[in-house]
Symmetry: D2
Subunit: 342 residues, 4 copies
């Protein structure tokens, strides 16, 4: 079986990463590659690292261009996926790398995105409890946000084991590709090199309700998340430092055991041996999430740190992994846990 | 009056930054520059950015070399300052950029540093309540750690105003110069570029009790700090994201007012206008601390973020500022709030 | 005497650097700060590192705003300086950081800039033979391009001493601030970090004729320059690797002697001791140019390498240095040879 | 057929990259992984990006450990390969990533490496004229140096077509991984970020005679190379800017045609369309070499610029490509022309 896949939004970072992974997927054939403003250009001018597709010309994103594929990846600006998806019908598996169908709570959606809620699709994080079941055979998949991926993987074992209070504090650093390819002054290399800076502080970042949704589902009760994203001087990677107050009776051993148990069978999430800590460099271009956890007795908090590549496990890799699950392919197909380092 | 200053440990990053600032200080004359392993070498080979001192030869660190100066800056590895200071007598103002005399609690010292407590010197953070009084006329000054500087400045206004619970959560990113000039594999450029990684997680970093000491003194009660430091791919700078649960009745307006009031008269600490956030790039080489604060109603937390240059305000600039206070010079002399950017 | 200075184009990188230096100049008072698209905004939002000017509001660039100053710095896009300068009259010293008045040859100008030649102003590189004389008392100054500064300083001693053939080969790496603050996709942090890339290859970069003009004047005969600029993943700095075939009889000793002789009295150009090489890090924010030179006997070439900060010595520092010369102030006033490192 | 491969020197950057590629090679099984100082450690602690091998324990490098493999990759410090290779016998294909067997001229070897010449092995650059034939069936392969790979690919078409004089001028920028993993002060992240610096200037870099050897063989006459390497603030990548004086009658069209003809059939070397230039980012982790060429009529020079990943095409990828040729496997097996970007 050959899976024929189209990519809408192929000129951006998410679309480019989907293509990079699909080119290495043994069961996928890359079909249409489409774009909006860059339609008509050769891919080689926009994604010079994708040499095998250098001469491909980007088509305008349209139902016609995307028709006739087994899978359609949408890497579009927020708010544009619903209209495209509607026209695609149920024949294709549609995988949305945007936010449109991630949230279950319409009020949360409207508060954080300021537009009517388009609906909710099966959520593409197989590692969450029940995650694989929800994806098996799915025809629509909402790929998680990059930060929610890193944070949910870091904290769900603690909530699944009932070890911590339902108030998480998260500070995460992201590489600049998370902010997209649209040129803005604060994203210039001159500005970001040598600089760490926060943004969306005070609970206003759009990924916040998605984290609360995931952790609340695992905890079986509402979980609040104090989330502060920061922009780091690197092109890729997310390092998420997550903590929550330990419930009485928690011990370092219980914490470690809970994480080992929750993650032991996961092909892409790796709990590091004690004494070693995750780095974003080690997952550069890989679909792995590296995790470490500690219990600070003095402060009474469990601290979990995860490192992912925001474009791979945090976007395109998560999308391909979920596609594999949905189509009944081996979950690891076309993905790797080997990073490009140093 | 000319202040004659010696610098012990002039081949390292802290010592180099002290020299950089002293060279621009209108009342200071640079006297002896000493080192240990690098004694006998020209400064130009070790600190090529300090052109005016390029031909100076480093002397071995010794009481003789350091004698006869008005001020002696110690930029030595932890644990070496006490012995040197003892031999200097009270004639000189001795300013220790190391940790040896920062902590008041001997048990804390022994637990985190694993050696007998050498004592406590006046603490060089003039911005803390009572900070200037403690430094005026002092003959010994303990320069705060770089992280405690960033974190104490970010959170003390909240504790001074009684707005938050005595449990702070801090995640801070530091440039690599904070880890020193001693070559270690994980500090190689090949390793750190493109990488964010935590270290000293779980309450074990040595700067933790210093933060608790500062904030506890302001709060008038013990404050615990959950502190996670991370290494960021930049040579300089600290971005500290600090938060604590708001006490009942806290409002966004009250938070802002407390910070404005606490910082209004400070020459080096600058509360940014709402909507703008600190970046380490903006304080590159400057003695300024940029601050912003937000109140997250959903999570019920006050989030304060500060950016400093770890080598300037976080070490050498703080040292010179405290020297100015101790000697009765204008506090801003030889220091700037202008960064080198982009 | 207080020199009152205006800066037109204060929202860009060149204008920001001029302001940074003027704020530290003991004889200058910053007057009007103007901009085009950003007029009406506070400087703090655009140049957050210039804290003392944070509340200054940018005025629209106009003859009225710029009138009544002793010195007017123009940091405008190429082609806009002539019109502004004309309206300023001879009362003010006008210092153009742009290219408009650098070239003497109208044909060169038209070929490389595609517009009518506006004229030629005294050239702001005091280190060139006759450079200071041409600037003394000048009312108009054309600040050299950043690359021509680095390359002319590296090679003029070899041409002055008649050691090399009139065909120079230059490859230079520049930090991204040289490309300005206007957001373009290829200047995004995501694109430039981890990347070296050439541009303007094959003799088409606009700084090429300026280099040829400078070196030809020193050599007393036409000099061709094969110039390849490259963009390096750093915010500031130029490293220029320059070489030319040695004339018969040249020796390593003769080369070194020629450079030492030409540069010995220069306050800002520093020939490093043998065995040490310039780095852009060592001149970060400083007005120094670091030089080294070697003679490759096998290839028969003299290789000179210079490092400058493109925004300081390469633009704003060169402008202030030339202002000092023009006004009869000490040439080093308000400038430093101390870099911010590491 | 399964090729069983051992890697000696698996704790360094070259060895790690060999392992990264072998793990993705469909016909290779990773056998022994050995080290010297790090023997006994788990690979996960030293190469955290190679998750599938995290629990492998490094054996001491010895004939016993390396015996019984079809291929042995040597990623050892210069000078150590001969002794190891001798003990391996002819049963195994031995691929030396070091310099020991690259040079044909013993005098060159002794002059640049200061030790007796160990011999010459078939040279692992299949793209050179005759390159594939020399490798087919070989039992010993000398992997080219990273710089000579970039430079030879950039210039050999010009020499093969007889377009340029036998005096090449090369300035190349390399990422820091080219300097290895051994911690030295000048390789610290604090030192290299924000910095460009040359080294080995004046014809003394050890890769110089290797370039001259390759280009001379193509030209059919001795070629001198003026080579200046520079260290760039990025972990990986080489950008080589190479030029030579055009012979009379050369035209831009002839240059382009020569390059197109020489490279058209190459799977890994890609001549970019006119107007686009190579960047190291586009070949991050890929085995591709991107090339562009221009003819500067004014300076009379042909300028060719190439970008490679120093660890992939410049070392480990070149090694695997040559292994494929030697073993009669498809040359592209286990290699990719897709980079990880941005």
């Amino acid at each position: 079986m050959v899976v024929r896949a189209a990519v809408a939004g192929a000129s951006g970072y998410a679309g480019g990463e989907v293509l990079r992974l699909l080119l290495g997927h043994p069961r996928v054939e890359v079909g249409a590659v489409t774009a909006h403003a860059n339609a008509g250009e050769r891919l080689g001018a926009l994604q010079p690292h994708l040499l095998p597709l250098a001469d491909r010309v980007l088509e305008p994103t349209s139902p016609e261009a995307l028709a006739g594929h087994d899978v359609v990846f949408l890497a579009l600006p927020h708010g544009q996926s619903a209209a495209v998806a509607e026209q695609l019908g149920d024949a294709a598996l549609v995988i949305d790398c945007g936010a449109d169908f991630r949230l279950r709570d319409a009020a949360d959606w409207e508060r954080f995105y300021g537009s009517p809620h388009a609906g909710t699709w099966p959520y593409g994080l197989p590692e969450l409890p029940g995650g694989r079941a929800a994806l098996t055979g799915a025809r629509r998949i909402a790929v998680p946000g990059c930060y929610p991926t890193a944070v949910s993987l870091a904290l769900f074992p603690a909530y699944a084991a009932g070890l911590v209070e339902p108030e998480a504090v998260v500070v995460a650093a992201s590489g600049t590709s998370g902010a997209g390819k649209s040129p803005k002054p604060h994203l210039l290399g001159s500005e970001v090199m040598g600089s760490m800076t926060p943004y969306g502080v005070g609970g206003v970042h759009r990924h916040t309700p998605e984290m609360a949704q995931n952790l609340g589902a695992v905890a079986g009760q509402p979980v609040t998340v104090s989330f502060t994203p920061t922009l780091a001087p690197m092109p890729r990677g997310i390092l998420a430092t997550c903590s929550a107050k330990a419930l009485p009776g928690t011990t370092a051993a219980a914490v470690r055991e809970a994480y080992a148990k929750a993650l032991d069978a996961e092909p892409f999430v790796h709990l590091l041996p004690e004494g070693r800590w995750p780095s974003t460099a080690a997952v550069y271009g890989s679909n792995a999430a590296l995790l470490q956890v500690a219990y600070d007795e003095t402060a009474g908090r469990v601290i979990a740190v995860s490192a992912i590549d925001n474009l791979t496990k945090g976007t395109a890799g998560g999308a391909v992994q979920s596609m594999n699950v949905a189509l009944g392919l081996p979950e690891e197909l076309g993905l790797t846990t080997i990073g490009v380092a140093p």
